[in-house]
């Protein structure tokens, strides 16, 4: 028991200290948490503090659950609809290009059909965590393209929930088309049921999950989130979607803002563990086999980010600096790719997916902030004549 506590404490400290060191050079925390896990995991030489990563599995699952729970609580359909058709168009363009290319890439890599869908999702969805932190740190919250970037992120969040539901039959290992359809229907039924509750009856749930004391509210919403996530898992839908929907239901209650505030520390602590645990199970020896496809995926993602960003900037009559800002922010990958691959691994898909996504995420999680901080100079590579309708040039204020 004592040993387990120390091991856990060390996990947090290592992850935190490494991430803190990295912050000084502008690196986001996700790749550093993963790095800490890789370094002290059983698969690398050097100190092995965690011989049995599976001991941390339940706690790491909390990370996944609270990450998506927070997204659900924070989610508001208004954020999508208030942006209008331009926002939806830009977000749709970005998502369509990336998922489409991800599918092509997935099939080209040739590890299997199911694996191709996982690769498509992992390469298609940006890391909300990194993007939002980036925008804050680079002081771009007043920029015209910031609202657009955040709108893209929100649409991707919603898409992820639907995509995970759609993958249920794939990840649920159905025997034959009939059972696959059943799993699919069950997943969507679950989403629909919770969606209806979220839309039409949040007050009923709000009467249960409420308390004047913050302490009690925390206990109640944690219970609710875990219960719904677990139920989802039992129904063959991933616990991640369950958590997301639980969040959406609570988003309609009067306690929403308080829950948003109270869940943050929980989310941060367990999410760190989630990424750390992922690092633990990565075997760097496997990386050689996946290096080429992973780097190909990185190159494709960067290219498509630029293309989609130019398109989005044109739709919204922004200039090339805005396009560069958009491209290098939303190319960040992180928590969602990892969530997908963890679910895939649990479902017994090709084990090469894990190191593939690890390399992919590490590369882009590091590249994105480095590129984004230099987007002013990098934007000069994009021809200005691609933006004839740009109103005013965005100033080079970072």
């Amino acid at each position: 028991m004592g040993r387990e506590l120390m091991v856990l404490g060390l996990a947090f400290l290592l992850a935190g200290l490494l991430a803190r060191g990295g912050r000084r050079i502008g690196l986001p925390t996700i790749p550093l948490f993963m790095g800490a896990g890789i370094i002290v995991g059983p698969n690398t030489g050097g100190p092995v503090l965690f011989e049995h990563p599976e001991d941390l599995e339940l706690l790491a699952a909390f990370g996944l659950i609270f990450l998506l729970f927070y997204l659900g609580v924070e989610f508001s359909l208004d954020d999508l609809t208030s942006g209008g058709s331009k926002l939806l168009g830009s977000a749709g363009l970005y998502l369509g290009l990336n998922i489409g290319a991800g599918l092509v890439l997935g099939f080209a890599i040739g590890w299997g059909t199911k694996e191709a869908f996982v690769i498509a999702g992992a390469t298609g969805i940006s890391s909300s965590a990194i993007v939002t932190k980036l925008l804050v740190e680079l002081r771009r919250l007043a920029n015209p393209e910031t609202r657009l970037i955040l709108g893209i992120i929100v649409l991707e969040d919603l898409f992820l929930a639907l995509y995970l539901a759609g993958l249920a039959p794939i990840l649920g290992q159905a025997d034959g088309a009939g059972e696959a359809v059943l799993l699919f229907l069950r997943a969507f039924g679950f989403l629909l049921a919770l969606g209806l509750v979220a839309r039409f009856a949040p007050n009923i749930v709000g009467k249960v999950i409420t308390a004047r004391d913050d302490e009690l509210l925390v206990v109640l919403f944690v219970g609710f989130a875990l219960l719904v996530a677990g139920a989802a898992y039992q129904l063959g839908v991933s616990d991640a979607i369950g958590a997301f929907m639980a969040g959406m239901v609570l988003a309609g209650t009067a306690a929403k803002k308080r829950i948003e505030r109270l869940v943050l520390p929980l989310r941060d602590a367990f999410a760190a563990l989630f990424f750390f645990h992922f690092g633990l199970v990565i075997d760097p020896g496997e990386i050689g086999k996946v290096l080429v496809p992973a780097l190909a995926a990185v190159a494709v993602s960067l290219l498509l980010a630029l293309v989609a960003a130019v398109g989005a900037a044109r739709i919204n009559r922004l200039d090339r600096l805005a396009a560069a800002n958009i491209a290098f922010s939303v190319v960040a990958r992180g928590e969602f790719a990892l969530i997908l691959v963890v679910l895939a691994t649990e479902a017994g898909l090709d084990p090469r997916l894990a190191p593939f996504v690890a390399v992919y995420v590490l590369a882009l999680a590091v590249a994105s902030p480095l590129l984004a901080s230099r987007s002013a100079s990098l934007s000069r590579v994009i021809p200005a004549r691609l933006f004839p309708a740009a109103r005013l040039a965005t100033a080079d204020a970072g």
């Binding site: 924070e74 939002t132 007043a142």
Partner: protein, 166 residues
Amino acid sequence: MPASPIDRRDTDPRVVRLPGVGTRLELRDTSGKPVHVVRRNDGRVELHGQGGAPTELDPTNAHTLGAFVTGHFLLSPEVSDRLGDVLGGLVFDWVNLPPGAHAAGRTIEELAVRRRTGVTIVAILRGSLPIVAPDAACTLQSGDDLVIACRWEDREPFARYMLVGA
């Protein structure tokens, strides 16, 4: 310096939600240049003005600035913190009832104000007489100033309902 927002014709202040980050208020200064204020979810406030790095205030100083600017210097940070926890944020505003307004001559109960608009009329200013916490049988009159507590987005629908009944 941020570019001017796209497709805006008017110079009214605009509130833009930045999902996952906070809320942005877009104003113009007296020479017409955009001034943006961002209230982040972590409580910090950024003031973006004429180029250069934005000014950042911690939550306490942000509260102090806000209270000072509105002249209500006595509003303590703890109070505005608690108010901020309310769903969507709370605003106090008032709506004047001109002659011929739909609500004039009707009681609060008849209008079913809370049910229809989600807004609470916390006081009525009638001439020099404030009626605080009016009860449901209170009849609204033209010339009344209805003081309300509601969410930002409920102001317009409430005003419309009071004036034209839609």
